[in-house]
């Protein structure tokens, strides 16, 4: 009996705890997989088989039918392919950009002390407000309003800085970044729409790439700051002593060291971009439609078309699973900081 509580080898678990751990993990696996199984099975059902009551096993409880798959892949195949490719392009590019820009900023925020002046921040907001008021209220064109706003900022900076000497710190910048995520997209959707309309970029993939990159940048910065914080400074200091420039330190030393965190962040941001609905709804019409719109569109006047919706949900999961399989081994690797610490 005691053998159940003693590990057989160091670093392993005793048999009973191991069984319990396995049990708990299997239970959660069931919780994760059952809804997805239900979606899979529903994609092979006829409308009547969905409406009549739950049937669980194909070929045993009901005869599976391919009508939903045929509808999505064959009959409306062209209308499915376009959003699919759009989604892939937009998600991957926006993620790449967000992670690149964000990690740079995160590294800087952990290693460099910034002290932006409160005066500059306030004046900047005031200038933008002035530009907005001039364009919307007084009807001035952007070409006039922007230089006026810039002038206000440049001229007012020095005097205001002399009056208000307070300065913000790294943490404030960090918090400001993450606070960008707070405002619900439904409210910023129309202003963003108007912004892109003014530059005639509506219904382009570019608009969505830029928007998603901006929306996810705070998350990258926020997460990477923590991962960079965990890397001890001795490594950098020795590299700097050897004459490496900051750029080389970042790209050749820090990023590889933070790889598990970097990959986790990339995956998360990729998924957020891939699954985003509201901004895609607003900024795209025909050309730049993405997959989530197609999923939502299956809820038509007749009620949700569960079968075609299930097909689309499954189609959407496939590329993400592939990406994860590809990247997940990077998350699993431990850091080699263990050799340095202590």
């Amino acid at each position: 009996m005691k053998r159940w509580f003693e590990p057989r080898r160091l670093g392993e678990l005793a048999p009973l705890p191991r069984a319990l751990v396995h049990g708990a993990l299997l239970a959660w696996t069931f919780v994760v997989f059952f809804p997805l199984y239900w979606v899979l099975v529903t994609s092979f059902k006829e409308p009547l088989q969905v409406a009549d009551g739950p049937v669980f096993l194909p070929f045993v409880d009901f005869q599976p039918s391919l009508h939903a798959w045929k509808y999505i892949l064959v009959e409306t195949g062209r209308d499915t392919l376009r959003p699919y490719l759009n989604s892939m392009l937009i998600a991957s590019l926006s993620t790449l950009l967000a992670v690149a820009i964000g990690s740079m900023a995160a590294y800087a925020l952990t290693r460099i002390v910034y002290r932006p002046s409160v005066a500059a921040v306030l004046l900047f907001i005031a200038s933008v407000a002035a530009v907005v008021a001039l364009v919307l209220g007084a009807g001035l064109s952007l070409g006039w309003a922007l230089p006026l706003g810039a002038m206000l900022f440049v001229l007012g900076l020095r005097p205001l800085q002399r009056r208000i000497t307070a300065r913000l710190g790294n943490d404030d910048i960090l918090f400001w970044m993450i606070s960008q995520r707070i405002l619900p997209p439904v409210v910023s959707a129309i202003p963003v729409y108007v912004m892109f309309q003014q530059v005639h970029l509506l219904d382009t993939q570019f608009a969505l790439i830029v928007t998603y990159m901006t929306a996810n940048l705070p998350i990258v910065v926020w997460l990477m700051v923590d991962f960079f914080d965990g890397i001890p400074r001795e490594l950098e200091e020795s590299a700097a002593l050897d004459g490496a420039s900051r750029f080389r330190i970042l790209f050749d030393l820090m990023l590889p060291l933070a790889r598990p965190g970097l990959v986790a962040t990339t995956l998360l941001v990729l998924i957020l971009s891939w699954n985003e609905y509201l901004l895609a709804l607003f900024l795209s019409t025909a050309n730049a439609q993405t997959m989530p719109l197609l999923v939502a569109a299956q809820n038509a006047t007749r009620g949700p078309q569960w079968w075609t919706m299930s097909v689309l949900i499954l189609l959407m999961i496939v590329p993400v699973v592939v990406m994860t399989l590809f990247l997940q081994k990077f998350i699993a690797r431990g850091l080699l900081t263990g050799a340095v610490k202590g």
Binding site: E46, A51, D52, Y193, L281, A286, A297, N299, R302, G303
Partner: protein, 490 residues
């Protein structure tokens, strides 16, 4: 403005095609025109649009781009495109109930419709012709679909119970009570009545379906939402109270989670044999005969919305018995008021589109609405188009081909025809910001009423207060003028 019929052009084009391939482009009326038409993702509505669009392109050379968005977002997408000046959409198939908000962006089609003989406007049911397509006296849409509520019942269930189809709401409740919980042969107990009561779905239309006959008896121009003479909401009186009671009582004989069912759920439940009675738009007719989706093929009957023998006396706020003066349109002493909920999908054109695009769009919608095309489309359930022309009821052939038996077709079409021809049809609310009156104020109050948060008096007071507040906020005189214009009240 192309007055010649499309079929004529098609003949010319075909002849030219056979003879001179190179000259084809010149003989086509709209060669080189690209038309962006938006509607919601189908197959309903979008599929016939695409199909007819291809035929239209072959005949006239205009390229028809069908752009679809999720159904729940169509309103916002169109409005954003047109109100911000983007104007990437030339035409759309939308709901006439959105007219008050859209009217500033739509092209006035009155001159085109008047000059269009091929359209056969005289064949379109008067309600759609005079009320649905018009706003402020001008025509803004071309009707493609006739949408209103009718009541459906299981013929086998009623036969077994020995009842006749319900003519009043009391009879409706009677039948629901008698049928509820019993098994009628398929091994599963049935529920009495299924009505879509989910919040933010169709509940606010359903209550008007119940209350309409109590509130309006003298014709569409009497109005069923406000008293046109004073703009007083018709929601705090004995008639509306009775309607609320009936509405809640149908829940007693309904499925357990009826409060979370929208019309897609109730429709599915009905055609899979789960309900004895239901209130829905016209979709159930063709759906019930589809063997892939229905277990009640040939067991469904339809009739005009049940009515009442007692109507509202607006002066006193009480219910009074129907007589010849009070209910001039009563049938056998019962006042019926079919409710044209939502209005029926119609084609509308962006006033800021290019002139050639406008011409082409009108020609497309006219083509789709002409009896030659429309009468075939309304018999196919998947198109989402329901009957709205008199000629669509004369020929039973296409309906029988779709799978309806003689009796089912006669029943279904009879219910629609009765409703279409009723002079007491309730027009859906079409004043500016109608969404805030119905979808926000009325719907929220109904949801709280059904959840037990408010009682009948509280619900009525809540709706009256919020509607009055909206009237005051938006300008009572303005709203009153708009309301009177929409129902043709003097």
């Amino acid at each position: 403005m192309n007055r010649r019929s499309i079929s004529l052009w098609a003949t010319v084009a075909c002849a030219a095609a056979i003879g001179m391939p190179g000259a084809q482009a010149q003989t086509k009326a709209y060669a080189g025109v690209t038309l962006n038409v938006m509607t919601f993702t189908g197959p309903q509505i979008a599929e016939p649009l695409q199909r007819r669009g291809k035929e239209f392109e072959a005949a006239t050379g205009a390229k028809v781009n069908v752009i679809t968005v999720p159904y729940s977002d169509l309103y916002q997408k169109l409005l954003t495109d047109w109100s911000t000046g983007t104007n990437s959409i030339d035409a759309a198939i939308l709901a006439p109930q959105w007219m008050p908000d859209y009217v500033g962006f739509l092209e006035d089609l009155s001159p085109r419709v008047k000059a269009d003989t091929k359209l056969r406007e005289d064949d379109v049911a008067p309600f759609f012709r005079e009320f649905s397509q018009k706003y402020g006296g001008k025509t803004y849409t071309v009707t493609l679909d006739g949408d209103f509520h009718i009541a459906y019942y299981r013929t086998d269930v009623l036969a077994k119970l020995g009842r006749k189809p319900p003519q009043t709401w009391d009879e409706y409740l009677d039948i629901a009570k008698a049928a509820h919980g019993k098994d009628f042969g398929d091994g599963k107990p049935i529920v009495g009545s299924c009505i879509a009561k989910k919040r933010n779905a169709q509940s606010f239309w359903m209550i008007t379906s119940v209350a309409g006959a109590f509130l309006q008896a003298k014709g569409t121009s009497e109005g069923a939402f406000f008293d046109p003479a004073t703009m007083k909401p018709l929601v705090n009186n004995d008639a509306f109270a009775r309607a609320l009671e009936i509405y809640k009582e149908t829940g007693k004989y309904g499925p357990p989670n009826e409060i979370n069912m929208d019309v897609g759920d109730t429709r599915t439940l009905f055609v899979s044999g789960g309900c004895a009675l239901t209130v829905d738009w016209g979709d159930i007719g063709p759906l019930a005969v589809d063997p892939k989706a229905s277990k009640v093929v040939d067991k469904v009957g339809a009739l005009m919305l049940p009515g009442t023998t007692r109507v509202l006396d607006r002066a006193s706020g009480k219910l009074v018995a129907c007589d010849a003066t009070r209910c001039p349109h009563a049938v056998n002493g019962v006042n019926r008021a079919p409710f044209a909920a939502f209005g029926g999908w119609s084609g509308a054109i962006n006033a800021k589109a290019k002139p050639q695009a406008k011409d082409a769009a009108y020609a497309l919608f006219s083509y789709m609405s002409q009896p030659e095309q429309s009468n075939a489309d309304v018999t196919v359930g998947a198109t989402g188009f329901n009957p709205y022309r008199q000629s669509q009821f004369k020929d039973m052939g296409p309906w029988k081909k779709a799978g309806m038996s003689d009796k089912a077709a006669k029943d279904y079409l009879g219910a629609i025809q009765d409703s279409l021809n009723s002079p007491n049809m309730v027009l859906d609310l079409r004043i500016p910001f109608n969404q805030r009156y119905q979808q926000v104020a009325l719907d929220t109050a109904m949801a709280r009423f059904l959840a037990g948060e408010l009682d009948v008096k509280g619900t009525m007071k809540n709706i009256e207060d919020t509607w009055n507040e909206l009237n005051d906020e938006l300008g009572k005189a303005k709203q009153q003028a708009a309301y009177k214009a929409s129902i043709g009240a003097k």
